[in-house]
């Protein structure tokens, strides 16, 4: 699932909820935990409310921007995990704006 569309969201969220935290995250683990926490909070809100409000859109955009900057530094295992976070966030933004 590399591109995906908003119909993939529930499945992607399910996969992410079940995924184990990567082992070799490196020195930016704390920052990555925060990014994951905040994106996941937006996802939980979206699946409850079926939309994202402007404040959450802004928060999500900020997270994705910072995630893009971190991704090139990650090794393969954490990269898979955080690519999924990025994809989840991107699809949430698209779906959230459509509601």
């Amino acid at each position: 699932m590399t591109q995906g569309n908003s119909q993939d969201l529930p499945r992607l969220w399910e996969i992410h909820q079940a995924a184990a935290w990567p082992v070799e995250v490196g020195s930016r683990e704390g920052e990555l935990m925060t990014l994951d926490t905040v994106v996941s909070w937006c996802a939980a809100y979206f699946f409850e409310e079926h939309h994202l409000d402007p404040q959450r859109v802004t928060i999500l955009e900020d997270c994705l921007s910072d995630l893009e900057a971190v991704l090139p530094e990650l090794s393969e295992e954490p990269l898979d995990y955080f690519e999924r976070v990025r994809q989840l966030g991107t699809l949430l933004l698209v779906a959230g704006r459509q509601q």
């Binding site: 909820q17 935990m33 925060t34 990014l35 926490t37 909070w41």
Partner: protein
């Protein structure tokens, strides 16, 4: 497997301040309630307390503002709020807000001397080194462990396994800083003394937590520091912000701690989870809880063994409309 949205709550085992092995647990945070006339506000708040008790969190943190800014700051009302806190089935850890003391000078609030109200709160909410609630927990208080900071009985810390909890008395209304501190002014002296106490307490708590190899630190305050006076682009605070010193200490200590830091606060009554300092302290997640309008709470599940460690679930008040934002 992660338990990101786990709702099964751990029972009220209050073996806090132990080095117990990492285990998932859930606590609750709320603040800025109950507001309004007793006849309306108290029944609704009691319903929320009953719902929280039903879920059996290991403890609850009240983040201050136990009454509206225009409700009278009478002894009676302040004692009623304390008694409501004592009706939580497990432990209730309380950090004060501005409504119950700094704003008490307002005519509608009874034109009280704020410092007199602060003394009253310290006397009646913090008589011993134990929390409120029906199963109080033992707290380590700044007043008891730091010479020179004896008045600050409300600044406390405790830990559950490898997760440390720290309360600091940082309140809305710009932390009781009304313009540049004026030498000789009681309010200014109060602000300066409390701000120093908070910064020292926070720094010491981070140092002790790091030395104890804590996996995460939760900081609980009342104030929303991220309104006027905060520049989110630069992640800096204006010189006249009453939060500048505390926030800079928080950023510095969170940076060096590196592991997850959770900042809990209330004040603006809007449930949100965000990163206030993505560049200077990217490991810090901020959570603001609901307030009086919704009168909901937030359940926070902590799983030290399973990053990203913190998950958040609304605890909706059955007495009020179910609103998530």
């Amino acid at each position: 497997m992660k338990h990101r949205l786990a709702t099964a709550l751990v029972g009220a085992c209050l073996a806090l301040s132990t080095g117990a092995a990492a285990a998932e647990f859930t606590f609750v945070a709320l603040g800025d309630m109950p507001y309004g006339p007793r006849e309306q506000a108290y029944p609704a708040f009691r319903t929320l307390i009953a719902e929280i008790n039903r879920r059996a969190p290991v403890f609850t943190i009240h983040l201050g503002d136990t009454k509206s800014g225009v409700a009278p700051c009478s002894d009676r009302l302040l004692l009623e709020q304390r008694d409501l806190m004592d009706s939580f089935a497990s432990a209730l850890v309380y950090t004060p807000g501005d409504n119950e003391w700094t704003d008490c000078h307002r005519l509608l609030a009874g034109a009280y001397d704020p410092l007199d109200r602060l003394r009253f709160i310290r006397t009646h909410y913090y008589p011993t080194a134990r929390s409120l609630g029906r199963q109080p927990i033992r707290l380590e208080r700044q007043a008891d462990v730091m010479r020179g900071f004896e008045p600050f009985v409300e600044n406390s810390r405790f830990h559950r396994g490898d997760v440390w909890f720290v309360t600091a008395h940082v309140v809305g209304s710009n932390n009781n800083l009304d313009g540049p501190p004026v030498e000789g002014s009681e309010a200014a002296e109060e602000f300066l003394a409390r701000d120093e106490a908070n910064r020292v307490w926070l720094a010491d708590s981070f140092d002790k937590a790091a030395a104890a190899h804590a996996e995460a630190i939760v900081v609980a305050i009342h104030a929303d520091m991220f309104g006027d006076g905060f520049d989110p682009q630069r992640e800096t605070f204006a010189p006249d912000s009453g939060f500048k010193g505390f926030a800079e200490t928080l950023i510095m200590k969170a940076q060096s701690f590196r592991k997850p830091v959770l900042l809990l606060f209330g004040d603006s009554h809007e449930f949100r989870v965000f990163r206030p300092f993505p560049r200077s302290a990217g490991n810090l997640t901020a959570v603001e809880v609901y307030g009086a309008e919704h009168m909901h709470a937030v359940a926070i599940t902590v799983d030290p063994a399973t990053p990203p460690m913190f998950t958040f679930d609304p605890v909706q008040n059955p007495a009020l409309p179910a609103l998530l934002d």
